[in-house]
């Protein structure tokens, strides 16, 4: 970060009752104009953190600094922040325009100024024509825009958004994600954005802050977080299920031993210095290998050279599939000495098969049949195999 | 928030202070004399004005509910009396009032003008002010039209031709109702009155909660024609009221009294000075005033009862239509106080269960 932070959280702790630790001493810096996404499962404390920053909750210890001012003595209504709630909390007794005007009225701006600002805001969210409507006449997406316009109208120094798309349906959500980011960036507001949906976080955030069980466990740019989850529980939370424990072979240090076969360690970036590790095989890392028939007598996972590139070969029984238009999601059962592994992959529905000028529909074998896949090792992420961090063992509320 | 708290608190405080201010202004003149009574108390403006002018005091009136309730409230507040003078103890409550020992004796010089038969308290703590008679009222026109003679005695009411004609208020909740029950006890004796009521019950007597419902809802005269009972337990002074408050300018009452000797009940109302009142002297003047002719002659048309003072002249309406019945039933107040509960319970068990 090359700018001094506008918002600094240090050591925020919050406990509800004796058994519920909502925030376990959170530290975070946010740069001006930055959109930081707090990403975590429900109950991880992200909403509580947002409420602490807004002043709606008082932390047990720790401090919130904004513009180098300690906010602990500043009551909610004097913080000049914006807050967008999950179900928007639009005032049911006020019209769209009155909702948007609320914060401006609280600043005692002259009526004419309020009027222009409200118009400006409604234009920003594309609802110019809706000013006099009742909020009940609006669709979900329109309400979301009104809520955004309302929270942006007083030009807050910091905007907090608590699952702002959470109550919308999927298509609308995807549409609004991009728009939301565009508007926030256009206005240039510093924003804290809470969500449990990683795609939303990737799409909106400049930086992602992953929270588990009241603690920040990883901070980074969306791509960095996606590419390199810091540990197994974060990877699980991010939806990666293909996690394969591996050990360096005692006799042959360049071999990695797994339950379903040994592979050469030099193919796997980041594995050099580790003896015990976890291989995170991304679902998008596989393609169908139709160069030779599948053979169950070979190890299920092994080194495999395709053209002049080092790859991995994986064989398993197709145990489920769902067609998703541009791709298939498949489940592959790979027999292992103890429990069989089930690995999931996203396979493009079209694949080039030698002919560079065309893509052909992928033919999947019948369920239960053997399937041979090529795995691209650069899409395998290595994580240290430590004892599972106990994020999940503490109960927490968010 | 704090400002609001302060605001509301101060409003409350202001309200409270206002409320706590004594109703009597702090200024000593004119002195205020308080007369408590039951809800039926009434008096003319000029009579009040005359007293206030004559004695340089201001009269304040309080009403405390029905006769029994009012007396109870006075007994409860005996240590810090609600009023200086209380008017409205009747002979059915006389013993309770005297036993509670809340009134001070006062032998008013005007007692000499009051017939002895009304003076039921020898200690002169309660002095008679007025009296009335509970008897039957009948719709004369109705009986004429139906070709049935008016009943002449209580016994008649049990006869088949008078079936379904009588309405009476409940003795447990109404003072004329109690008076009528006492009449039957005096007339038929403690052994006989329940048999009489059983006969009335068999003859379809209607019992109402209060006098108002009996008279206005059910009595053919009182209801203006919508009622279905031409006989009601009411007062001997009801016929003059029927003329005075007629809607059609009639000069003769539509109802007549049926008051056979020994079969009416006399209610005497008394006045007393609260013994803890600090204004005993002034209270004496009020009692004297209320026993004197000016007030006494105001009584009949205000409260529809007879003045106790023999020198008070009756209004023409009373002379014409409300001759006091002779020979009312006799029951001593202490007997009433001692047995009222038992009599009413027995009656209730018989009539309403």
């Amino acid at each position: 970060m090359n700018q001094s932070p506008i918002l600094r959280l240090s050591g925020i702790r919050k406990r509800y009752g004796p058994n519920t630790l909502a925030l376990a001493g959170v530290d975070l810096d946010v740069a001006p104009g930055e959109i930081v996404c707090l990403l975590g499962p429900s109950g991880c404390g992200k909403t509580t953190l947002l409420r602490v920053v807004a002043g709606l909750e008082t932390p047990d210890s720790g401090a919130v600094w904004f513009n180098r001012q300690d906010l602990s003595v500043v009551p909610v209504h004097q913080r000049r922040f914006g807050f967008m709630f999950q179900d928007f909390a639009l005032f049911p007794h006020k019209s769209v325009a009155e909702n948007v005007a609320f914060g401006l009225r609280m600043e005692r701006l002259p009526a004419a100024k309020i009027k222009t600002r409200v118009e400006e805001m409604l234009r920003l969210v594309g609802l110019q024509a809706y000013a006099e409507r009742s909020v009940f006449e609006l669709s979900g997406g329109e309400r979301q825009r009104v809520a955004l316009a309302r929270s942006l109208a007083p030009a807050p120094q910091l905007l907090m958004l608590d699952e702002p798309l959470g109550s919308l349906d999927r298509t609308l959500r995807e549409e609004l994600m991009m728009e939301l980011r565009a508007i926030l960036k256009r206005v240039g507001v510093t924003a804290l954005y809470v969500t449990h949906d990683q795609e939303e976080a990737y799409a909106v955030g400049d930086r992602i802050v992953i929270m588990l069980a009241g603690d920040i466990v990883q901070i980074g740019a969306p791509q960095a977080v996606y590419r390199q989850p810091a540990d197994r529980s974060i990877a699980r939370f991010l939806g990666f299920s293909n996690i394969l424990p591996a050990q360096r072979h005692p006799q042959q240090p360049d071999l990695l031993h797994t339950a379903i076969g040994d592979i050469s360690s030099e193919q796997i970036a980041g594995a050099e210095s580790l003896d015990r590790l976890l291989l995170l095989i991304r679902p998008e890392s596989a393609r169908i290998d139709s160069s030779q028939p599948a053979d169950a007598r070979q190890p299920y996972l092994r080194d495999h050279r395709q053209a002049s590139h080092a790859c991995l070969g994986l064989t398993g029984y197709l145990s489920g599939r769902s067609f998703r238009g541009s791709q298939y999601r498949i489940a592959l059962r790979v027999p292992a000495p103890q429990d069989d592994l089930i690995l999931t992959f996203d396979l493009p529905a079209y694949q080039s098969s030698g002919d560079p000028g065309a893509l052909h529909p992928v033919e999947l074998p019948a369920d239960g049949e053997l399937l041979r896949l090529t795995i691209y090792p650069n899409l395998i992420t290595v994580m240290e195999d430590e004892a599972e961090p106990d994020h999940a063992t503490q109960r927490s509320a968010g | 928030m704090f400002q609001r708290t302060l605001l509301i608190l101060s409003i409350m405080a202001a309200l409270f202070v206002t409320a706590c201010q004594p109703v009597a202004p702090a200024a000593p003149e004119p002195a205020i004399l308080t007369l408590a009574s039951h809800d039926s108390f009434a008096v003319s403006e000029d009579v009040v004005a005359a007293f206030e002018e004559q004695h340089g005091v201001k009269l304040q009136f309080l009403t405390l509910g029905d006769a029994g309730e009012a007396l109870n409230k006075l007994i409860l507040s005996a240590d810090a009396p609600l009023a200086d003078v209380f008017f409205g103890v009747d002979n059915t409550f006389l013993s309770r009032a005297l036993n509670a020992d809340v009134f001070a004796p006062y032998a008013s010089p005007l007692l000499s003008q009051i017939p002895d038969e009304l003076k039921l308290d020898a200690s002169n703590r309660l002095l008679p002010v007025d009296y009335g008679f509970v008897n039957l009222n009948a719709d004369a026109a109705w009986f004429e039209a139906a070709g049935i003679p008016l009943p002449e005695t209580l016994d008649d009411l049990a006869k088949p031709e008078y079936a379904g004609l009588l309405v009476a208020p409940n003795p447990a909740t109404s003072s004329p109702g109690l008076a009528f029950l006492l009449t039957t006890i005096a007339r038929f004796g403690e052994d006989g009155y329940l048999d009489y009521w059983q006969a009335l019950r068999d003859n379809d007597v209607l019992i109402t909660g209060g006098w108002s419902e009996a008279y206005f809802e059910h009595f053919t005269v009182g209801s203006g024609g919508t009622g279905d009972r031409p006989l009601v337990v009411s007062y001997s002074t009801s016929p003059p009221a029927d003329v005075l408050y007629a809607a059609d300018g009639r000069t003769e009452p539509a109802s007549v009294n049926i008051s056979p000797p020994g079969e009416t009940f006399r209610q005497v109302e008394f006045i007393g000075i609260l013994k803890n009142s600090p204004r005993q002297e002034l209270a004496h003047t009020l009692v004297d005033f209320m026993l004197d002719t000016a007030f006494q002659e105001d009584i009949p048309l205000q409260m529809f009862v007879y003045p106790a003072n023999a020198n008070a002249e009756l209004p023409e309406l009373f002379v014409q239509f409300a001759q006091a019945p002779a020979g009312p039933a006799v029951l001593p107040p202490d007997a009433i106080e001692a047995s009222r509960d038992r009599w009413i319970s027995a009656w209730t068990d018989l009539m309403l269960r």
């Binding site: - | 008096v43 209060g210 024609g225």
Partner: protein
């Protein structure tokens, strides 16, 4: 942020003090005097009361008639509540005001109206006789349990109509619409979706009706004819007729214990069912009637009930201009303006109206302020204090008026003859109504509405003004309507020492009914009609009252 005491707890002291001074102190005082003092009849102790089968019979009767009356009131009130909540039609405000009028009518007058309609020679019997060619009147309701139940329903139906109706009107129609898409329809839809959502308000209003019927006095005494006795009637008998204070105090305690139990059970259930609700402004939920058979049925039944409800009032009005069978006349109204007896206590009808309105207005202000604060105190979620306080705020409703009245006499010092005690006593009865009507709506306010107002720069006070007040405005208006009618109807009037020089409308009615003569009867009817009109106008004014810049919600 340093921890500090929440302002609501500071404010909460006010209603607590009010109750302590005007309720618990006089109550404790009279109980002490009753059990230890030497006043009144001393024999006939508590053990004796308990041994009498009469006591248990009264206990049982009081309870079951209150339960039956509540059910009947609900049956009559729900269709009306539905219609008022869901349809816009001409004269709606007036009609709703009319349903509330019975609440203010003195029992004697209602008895007159009932008799003229339902009595042996009443209109209904006359019609039925003519219609069915009968020799005898077919209905004989006088002094039966039916007339008590009917009268209770007649009196209390507005509690259901206003409380449930107000709630229903703001319920999001999308919820029921969604359910009907899922295949629920008619009764099933109502039973599975609407009813549970309405439950908090149904429970709250039923509780109020139950308490009113449980402590019923006038209706049972006057219409039931003492064939029936509630605990309250028996307390009156013991305290007034027999002056057995010990027995009366014991019965009062029994009555309070039962009501307290009922209320505790209720508050527990209520706390469990209260959820933030998705509320809608009335403009969205109320519409012009749409023609479907379902709606026609509801409208018809509501119309019928409205007719039944209003018939006694119409009969009264009619009688006030035709009494005496001389054709239509305004004589009785004119008589009101004449001081025929030169009475020192005469006031013009206008003065009586003014006196009544004065007390009613003070009652409205006091009970709204105290009731709203109490509701805030009670609305705090999961607070033990709230759970404990809740039934206590309702206790005045379950307390014998006679007992409390005696308490005032011995406890209030010079205040006992002050006219200010009148609105105070009315407030004791009205406050629980305000609390019960405001509380469900208050609990229904999404806390995030307040939070978003605060984040946008509204101070706590401003937040209250901008969010709570407009959203609660409707229920506050309902509470105000109850306070107004309770005061106009002189509830608990027996409680007090009254000043004959400041008569209210009901007092004028009682006075007129105290003496024979058709002009007196006619005056009482005329004054009742005026009371009806004044309360209707007052209720309409309350409904129209709007806080300056908020929309209708």
């Amino acid at each position: 942020m340093p921890k500090r005491i929440q302002p609501i707890y500071i404010l909460g002291v006010i209603p607590a003090l009010f109750l302590a001074f005007f309720f618990f102190y006089p109550l404790a005082n009279i109980l002490r005097v009753s059990f230890t003092g030497e006043i009144g009849v001393q024999d006939g102790g508590i053990a004796e009361i308990l041994q009498r089968p009469f006591f248990w019979r009264i206990l049982w009767f009081t309870t079951w008639q209150a339960a039956a009356s509540t059910l009947l009131t609900l049956a009559v009130g729900m269709p009306l509540a539905y219609v008022f909540a869901h349809f816009d039609f001409a004269g709606k405000t007036v009609l709703r005001a009319l349903t509330t009028i019975p609440f203010v009518m003195p029992t004697v007058v209602v008895a007159v109206a009932f008799t003229s309609l339902l009595g042996r020679t009443g209109l209904l019997n006359q019609w039925l006789q003519a219609l069915l060619r009968l020799d005898q009147p077919p209905l004989s309701l006088e002094q039966t349990i039916w007339i008590i139940l009917l009268a209770h329903a007649f009196y209390n139906v507005s509690v259901i109509v206003r409380t449930v109706g107000g709630f229903w009107a703001n319920l999001n129609p999308a919820i029921t619409e969604a359910a009907s898409v899922l295949g629920a329809s008619g009764l099933r839809l109502f039973a599975t979706v609407t009813l549970p959502l309405l439950m908090p308000s149904i429970a709250a209003s039923s509780l109020l009706v139950f308490l009113f019927c449980f402590t019923s006095f006038g209706v049972v005494l006057i219409l039931g004819g003492l064939r029936f006795a509630t605990i309250e009637v028996e307390i009156y008998r013991q305290a007034v007729s027999l002056f057995n204070l010990r027995a009366a105090a014991f019965l009062s305690l029994v009555q309070m214990a039962i009501t307290f139990t009922v209320m505790s059970v209720y508050t527990r259930l209520q706390a469990r069912t209260s959820i933030p609700l998705d509320m809608r402004p009335r403009s969205v939920t109320a519409r012009r009637p749409v023609t479907t058979i379902d709606r026609a049925v509801v409208l018809l039944s509501a119309g019928f009930m409205l007719f039944v409800l209003l018939a006694p009032l119409a009969a009264l009005l009619w009688q006030s201009v035709t009494l005496g069978g001389q054709g239509i006349t305004l004589d009785y109204y004119q008589e009101l303006t004449i001081n025929r007896r030169q009475s020192a206590f005469y006031v013009s009808p206008l003065t009586a109206v003014r006196n009544s309105l004065f007390f009613a207005l003070v009652t409205v202000v006091l009970s709204l302020a105290l009731g709203a604060i109490s509701a805030y105190l009670l609305a705090r979620p999961r607070s033990r204090l709230s759970a404990a306080l809740d039934p206590i705020f309702l206790l005045p409703l379950g307390t014998s008026a006679v007992t409390l009245g005696y308490g005032y006499i011995i406890s209030m010092g010079t205040l006992r003859t002050s006219i200010w005690l009148v609105p105070v006593a009315h407030t004791l009865i009205a406050m629980p109504f305000v609390v019960r009507t405001v509380l469900p709506a208050l609990r229904g306010i999404d806390p995030r509405l307040r939070e978003s107002a605060m984040v946008m720069g509204a101070s706590p006070r401003r937040t209250w003004r901008e969010v709570d007040v407009p959203i609660l405005a409707r229920t506050l208006a309902v509470g105000a309507a109850f306070a107004f009618t309770i005061s106009l109807g002189e509830f608990g009037a027996t409680l007090l020492v009254s000043r004959p020089d400041v008569p209210t409308m009901p007092v004028v009615i009682f006075r007129a009914l105290g003496q024979p003569g058709l002009l007196n009867y006619g005056q009482a009817l005329a004054m009742s009609a005026i009371l009806m009109i004044v309360s209707a106008l007052g209720l309409i004014a309350i409904e129209r009252f709007r806080f300056e810049d908020i929309g209708e919600f």
